[in-house]
């Protein structure tokens, strides 16, 4: 039975409330219990009880009066609660972003801006025929992902890892907030630098999902940093040395990246239980 509808439908009888106010002893225990529970939830009946006390039971009314007159001077002088300081970190924000991640995200934004500046100005002898921003874009979110789930960086890791919300749920939440910051910044910076999102968005998502998938085995931070290192050595360095666009970011490579994204997502879903315990390999 629904408490609200019951409250509207039936109220305690005036006689019962009167008897309760007078402190009659002949009310059955179950009736008394039901009445008190009802009074807690029903303002109408509390008002009736107050009326019944006022006109029917002078002893109780005078007692309440005496308590009030005793309390009132004290209530007047009680110091008001100190004003709460303006909160810097509301709970909903901590739920998406730990304080540890903020500097890393700021650094990522800084790197994007520098890459964009180099792409636009094209200083002599550097970055000719290669877009630095395009080369960096797929791995930039990995830094934030690594910072979001790193035992070494996050002081509250021990506490967080034992909480019910830990695990895939929290990893995904933090990854989403990293992407929500990094992807728009890359989109904005890519416009003046002439870099199209079609080239980097899919590799970026694929590498992020791969870092989470490998994170179930090695730990998310290790996996993300490892992938970033592989990318730097395998794609960025050759491309910068030969001064040619990397084949990995070719339009023909997109189906492969799509496949990797699907594979990474599948592995993450299949192994969703692996994110709560410390990876066995690295205890």
């Amino acid at each position: 039975m629904n408490a609200e509808s019951a409250g509207r439908a039936e109220h305690a009888s005036v006689e019962l409330i009167g008897a309760y106010a007078r402190g009659d002893t002949d009310i059955a225990a179950d009736e008394m219990w039901a009445l008190e529970a009802h009074l807690e939830a029903c303002g109408v009946c509390r008002a009736r009880l107050a009326d019944a006390v006022d006109c029917g039971v002078p002893a109780v009314a005078s007692l309440v009066e005496a308590v009030w007159s005793g309390l009132e001077p004290e209530l007047g002088t009680a110091a008001a609660a100190p004003a709460r300081r303006r909160r810097r970190q509301p709970v909903w924000l901590s739920a998406w972003l730990t304080p540890v991640m903020a500097p890393w995200l700021a650094m990522t934004v800084g790197v994007v801006l520098i890459a964009m500046a180099l792409d636009v100005t094209e200083p002599a002898g550097f970055g000719e025929g290669v877009s630095l921003l395009l080369l960096l874009a797929p791995v930039l979110p990995l830094l934030g992902v690594a910072a979001s789930w790193s035992r070494a960086l996050d002081p509250a890791y021990e506490l967080t890892a034992a909480a019910p919300r830990a695990g895939l749920y929290l990893v995904l939440r933090r990854t989403a907030s990293v992407l929500a910051v990094v992807v728009p910044v890359l989109l904005l910076a890519g416009w003046p630098a002439g870099v199209s999102a079609a080239q980097w968005l899919l590799p970026c998502l694929a590498l992020t999902s791969a870092s989470l998938a490998l994170g179930g085995v090695f730990g998310v931070a290790r996996a993300a940093l490892g992938l970033a290192a592989v990318w730097a050595a395998g794609v960025m360095a050759p491309s910068l040395v030969t001064r040619s666009e990397s084949a990995a970011l070719d339009a023909s490579g997109l189906p492969v990246w799509g496949l990797l994204l699907a594979l990474g997502t599948g592995v993450v879903i299949a192994r969703r239980g692996a994110y709560t315990a410390v990876p066995r390999l690295f205890r």
């Binding site: 529970a37 807690e40 901590s94 996050d154 909480a163 019910p164 239980g273 709560t276 205890r283």
Partner: protein, 275 residues
Amino acid sequence: MTRAVSAAEIAPRTYAHEIRAAGLKIRVGRSRMAVDGLDLFLGTGVHGLLGPNGAGKTTLIQALATVLRPTEGTLELFGESAGGLGEHRALRRRIGYLPQEFGYYRRFTVREFVEYMAWLKEVPKADIPAAVQRAVERVGLADRADDRMKALSGGMVRRAGIAQAIVNDPEVLLLDEPTVGLDPAQRLRFRELLQELGADTCVVVSTHLVEDVGAACSDVVLFAEGRLVFQGTPKELAAAGGEDHPGDSPLERGYSALLADRAASSAPARERGAW
């Protein structure tokens, strides 16, 4: 009519002990068994987990907090297995855990920290402010609740840690060396809090201070080299020691007597340093 008692509160318990371990083994690193064949039953009350450094107390508590998974044997919390892969979200909601060296975000105020932990522990959103206030008051930090964590002394930080452990009203409360850094007055207050919590909660307190156990615990679990040496009341522990055993109090004498017995029986004892 609102129900004064919720259905969950009158549901029958399906387990005899909150914590049950049988043949529990937990490997740490490549080959070392930090917990090596442990059989243990713990119910409501305050259980002091006592043992020399390196006995495996922290490993056991981490396994009870479902952070480490057992290598072998069974570990059951509330009658449900805590092993294997799985998120154990339902179990973790009923557990409070204070790690030995717990980190926190230094910029957070005490209230923000406990609120954040309450969110992580899936306390219903509407209940968070009241639960946080209650937890902070119970550990006596209400007047410092809006101070930053980095402005607190070591003892206060530890009390904030205890506040986050009890914010979800846990049925199993795991405290790893909670009295480190508390001054004598705070320690007394903490023992009172332990006894209060132990009335309806299964509290496991690891410590290497024997006097903590005598004052606050209803039950002593003595633990050495990953195995159970003794389980009983503090009185029984005191009775195990004789005048000739080293120690300044009956409890300390009992402690050293039991550990000496064990070392003698597990001969040939491994070479161990005096410390």
